[in-house]
């Protein structure tokens, strides 16, 4: 049984349709790239999976113990108010709030988990730094760590590498590949980076008015430039 399945989704805003006929399914440990041009509805799909938006039609099914609020989400836009005072540690810990717990403080386990996540992403040297004083790449990594706090099952990353330099981009993709292979975390990666898709993806979903595709990555790239 698939961990996540979308059947004939229609996406849009207030009656205005953005994308139709989106069909795909993922198993645990899959690595999916979602491709498509600007405005094709990739972020809208992400928000529908997270139940932030209502899909206009179709079904989204979760199985294998996955729930919408257990998805680790990395938004396309970094929430950055210029004067917001928050340390890296505070932000990363806040990702684990979906584990519930009515006790008003973070438990010892939560703190240790945050520590482990920071260790994995090599963020420990930054843990007490102020978020707004970090570079764009460092901020993305902190937000990736926060999304990792929210999930053990599925990471949904909306253009995590946008505006990063080649070195930082490569590093980010390596971290994500490791999480996928070592912890069997399912990855949904929204991106414009065809090279990365070729290198890392098991499956590809291409959204677009006249070039919809879902299938194995080999089949997508065998078609050559047909979809790209």
């Amino acid at each position: 049984m698939a961990q996540l399945e979308c059947r004939n989704l229609t996406l849009g805003y207030e009656g205005k349709t953005v994308a139709t006929g989106i069909d795909f399914s993922l198993n645990k440990g899959d690595y999916l790239f979602i491709l498509g041009e600007n405005g094709s509805g990739k972020s809208t799909l992400a928000k529908a999976l997270l139940r932030l938006n209502q899909a206009l039609a179709g079904e989204i099914l979760f199985a294998d113990g996955l729930k919408a609020n257990r998805i680790g989400y990395l938004p396309q836009q970094t929430p950055s108010q210029k004067d917001f005072p928050a340390s890296v540690k505070e932000i990363i810990r806040s990702g684990g709030l979906n584990r519930g717990g009515l006790f008003p403080f973070y438990s010892k386990e939560e703190k240790e988990r945050a520590h482990t996540v920071m260790e994995q992403l090599e963020l420990l040297p930054l843990e007490n730094r102020c978020f707004r004083e970090l570079s764009g790449g460092q901020q993305r990594k902190v937000l990736l760590a926060r999304s990792l706090m929210a999930t053990r099952e599925l990471l949904l990353l909306d253009e995590p590498a946008a505006a990063l330099d080649p070195h930082a981009t490569a590093e980010l993709y390596e971290i994500i590949r490791r999480l996928n292979q070592e912890q069997k975390i399912t990855i949904i990666m929204i991106s414009h980076d065809l090279e990365a898709a070729k290198k890392y993806a098991d499956k590809i979903l291409h959204i677009g008015k006249d070039s919809a595709f879902f299938g194995a990555a080999e089949d997508y790239f065998k078609g050559g430039t047909a979809h790209a």
Partner: protein
Amino acid sequence: MLEMLQQIGHILSYPFAVRALIVGILVALCASLLGVSLVLKRMSFIGDGLSHVAFGALAIATALKLSDEMLLVLPITVIAAILLLRGGKKAKIRGDASLALWAVGSLALGYLIINLFGNGGNVAGDVCTTLFGSTSILTLKTADLWICGIMAAVVLLLFFLFYRQIFAITFDEEFAAATGLHTQAYQLLIAAITAVVIVIAMNLVGSLLISALVIFPALAAMQVFKRFRDVMLCSALVGVGAAALGILISFAPTQAPIPMGATVVAVNLVIFLIFALIGKFKSLQIRKSHI
């Protein structure tokens, strides 16, 4: 100097002075805790804006010849505050603009109503009341003390129980919603409590003082601290400290009586300037250590 301290100590043996001190401290505590998120939400001037809304409501109440105007003024002001604060990320008009919209709109509407339906009355006096507080802080009753105590307890409880959620939602509402937090419910809860606090405090100490109590401690804390928890704690300490100090200073025996509200604001201003200097100094040091 010693004599002056003795004099202040002597004044504190009068219940009215103790009541002023307690109410001042409790209002400052609530305002400085709520102030951090108000400043971050671009709502620094909410106290001032709401006093204009209260004026508009007062004009309607007068035109309707209500016996107790507060029955209309309080609910309208609280509702306005909730609508202002609840907006969150989805609001089409943000912070400062929507605040100005409400303030200017109600002022004009109120003035219009008074002129159309006005029956003379003491309009100027009523306007002053909404701006500077209806009860002078020196004539507080025991009931006011109770109201303040309950208000402070509710605010403290809110921050104690939901501190993590408040942080997550203020920092990134969308992510918080994605992880299943009921962001709308929290926003509404915070907005409602903030609204009630500001409206009550406005009546006790006046909207000018409440604006200062909201803005200064939060800004002072943000000059020095970079962590949300530290900013909250520091803001509360500064707010309480400045209020206590300001009120005590205003008890000092001088030729002319020292106005209490203005003294509290002045102390806040001085503390803010000191913190701003410390902040500058700190960032210089960090830059040096990086070279």
